[in-house]
């Protein structure tokens, strides 16, 4: 949370401004503007470190979709759009961007605790920060799962992703899957399986982000399919 301005004339440095209360209840306060904006930016940083420093956009197609499951395809140009949404949410809005690698790490952490060997090229990264997948994905109001971070193979990758998505569906909380146009989440992807496909098939899709106001929800553009006949 942002520390209030010590010299603020409105709140006197407390970050609070009294609002009209109701008898017989104790007085109520609201957050002073000098602290509120800092609070919001810090909440944005909690979701993804560095997100608040992305450029501001005049509009974003993501606004209003935070309660829906979404499959987003885009590169780093997606981040200003995410920032656009996050700065417009209350400070109690709990969102988190987790990478596919973090999911596997959370899944492997109990194995690490038991001291067993981990057959994963990224085993050195395994920590006990989150002891299970639910630990990582249940609390937030919105989880954005960023694909394409984990590169080293792990046989259980697709099951881990399916479990994370199923957990969120069970909790009735929205999830966004964010993959990149160069490495789309489809057959051949490290985390792809029929189960994952079945789970996210009904989700709305959004792709090819632009940094101008003209961007709108649309299907990801696909390149022309090449056939043997060349047409």
């Amino acid at each position: 949370m942002g520390a209030p301005d010590k010299n603020c004339q409105v709140c006197g440095g407390t970050g609070m401004v009294e609002v009209e209360g109701e008898d017989p209840h104790p007085p109520a306060f609201r957050r002073c503007d000098c602290a509120l904006r800092k609070d919001i930016l810090q909440n944005v940083e909690r979701g993804l470190t560095g997100l608040s420093s992305f450029p501001a956009l005049p509009s974003s197609p993501l606004l209003g979709l935070e309660d829906k499951n979404l499959w987003v395809t885009g590169g780093d140009e997606f981040l200003p759009h995410l920032r656009h949404l996050a700065v417009r949410k209350p400070v109690t809005w709990n969102f988190r961007v987790v990478s596919d690698a973090e999911l596997v790490t959370a899944w492997l952490s109990t194995v690490a605790l038991k001291g067993k060997d981990i057959l994963d090229a990224d085993a050195y990264m395994v920590s006990t920060k989150f002891l299970s997948i639910p630990d990582l994905v249940v609390p937030p109001d919105l989880v954005v799962i960023r694909m394409g971070i984990k590169v080293a193979r792990n046989a259980a990758s697709s099951e881990v992703l399916a479990e994370a998505i199923s957990t969120r569906i069970h909790e009735m909380k929205p999830t966004w899957i964010w993959d990149e146009p160069e490495r789309p989440l489809n057959s051949g992807h490290l985390f792809w399986s029929d189960t994952v496909g079945r789970l996210i098939k009904p989700w709305s899709r959004l792709g090819t982000f632009e940094t101008s106001a003209s961007s709108s929800p649309n299907r990801p553009r696909r390149g022309k399919r090449k056939t043997l006949r060349g047409s």
């Binding site: 949370m1 942002g2 520390a3 209030p4 006197g12 407390t14 970050g15 609070m16 009294e18 609002v19 017989p24 209840h25 104790p26 007085p27 109520a28 306060f29 609201r30 957050r31 503007d33 602290a35 509120l36 904006r37 800092k38 609070d39 919001i40 930016l41 810090q42 909690r46 450029p55 501001a56 956009l57 656009h84 700065v87 417009r88 949410k89 209350p90 400070v91 109690t92 809005w93 709990n94 920060k129 989150f130 630990d135 609390p139």
Partner: protein
Amino acid sequence: MKTLLRSTFRADPADDGTLFLRNAQALRDSGLGFDLVEDAAAWSWIQDFITQYHHVPDSSTLRNHFEAVGQIPVVDRLDALAIERPRVQGDFIKLLEARVSDRKLRLTGEILREASNIATTGVTLKEGRHETHLKGPIHALKYVVDRASEVVTPMTGIRLSGDVTADGDAFLREYERVENDPLAGIGQLTGVQQMDEALKGSKRGELWTHAAFTGGLKSTFAINWHYNQAVFYRHSSVLYSLEMPYPQVRRILYSIHTAHPKFAPDRKRLGISKCLPYEKIRDGELSEPEKKFLIECVVPDFNDPGNQYGHIHIEVADPDKTDFNINDLRSRSELLYAKDPAIRMLTIDHAGLMQSRNRHNSTTERLNEVLRDAKRLAMSFNRGMGIAINALFQISREGYRAAEKNGGRYNLTHLSYANEAERSSDIVTASWVDEELIDSNLVKFQCLKSRDNAPFKEFYSGVLWPCRRIYTTQDISPVQAQRAGEEIDLEIG
């Protein structure tokens, strides 16, 4: 009985409508009646008035009514009652209980006489069209058992048991009471809006566990709760401070009172910002204007009986006893209740410092027993009357670490080293502060369990650190958040 009736309508500008309404509700719940016809007529009309308007009438309204209907003896009686000194809060309840006790004595005699008649000569009872003839010792004893509940009730209006399918009248009376005075009908409110709107306060017979790590504002939250109960809602309460000595809690409470909005003009006049810092009061370092403010405004106001604040009883463990268990707490609380029947809430600060009745090898077993007993006490306090109990619970270091990784969010597994905290508690809340929140003058509250209501979504409350006052900080609406976001973007632009 004159004083009881006088305490249910306002005849003086100083008479407090809220407290008089509580009197009237308590008198109605007691089921006491008035022997004098005039008193009975006035009381009946007062009850009708309350049902219709949800507040007590004043004497002029009463007079006008009885003059209009030509009942001059009632008018004369009201004039005589108006000069009686009314009673409120604990004083009223004490008087009411004395009258109820007299009635129970008479009732016991009646029941025994009737039972004697049944045993010897037999009695025919009429219930609607049905007639039942009771005769002999078995019927006599059954009769005594059936009517015993009328005598054994612990306090006015509290039922220990009964047949629900034949209790519609009492059920509707209870509903009317809550409708008339929502604040009196529900639990003991914390004074923190988001929590109160969702949970409606700590209720009689319920155990509310508030958990936090060391320094997580457990005691501060409890002291603020008791302060709000006394000063804003005017209910008495008992705080068992097993961690802090009495003078320390007293200093905090006086420091909190310096932030009361009623002193805003005085603070402005004397050049004092929001409150008097606790540390300055403790160390005797107040400036002249601050000292003047404390001596001339804060202390007299907090001690003025005219304000009709509830009492905050602070109890510490008996210095002659090496352990303080729930039986000690029960006997001490019931003794205090006998002196101050306006007590509505007990807080144990904190449960980990209570001793269990039986010896246990592990902390888990000991804590489990303490919490189980606390719930039992909440339900059985004062021979079944029940009371709201708040137990403060210290979260383990593992729980704290886990919450730290999760943005300061606890879950029930963090209380699992004493699993009874989860099982026996009707409500479990937790508070979280870290350095960032301290800098922002905020504390985060979350609800981990709520048996009777939907839990509240986590929220932030303001903390005035110098005096440790916790106050409602309204959540910003989605529209306000959107506007704030647009302003952030404009600033960057």
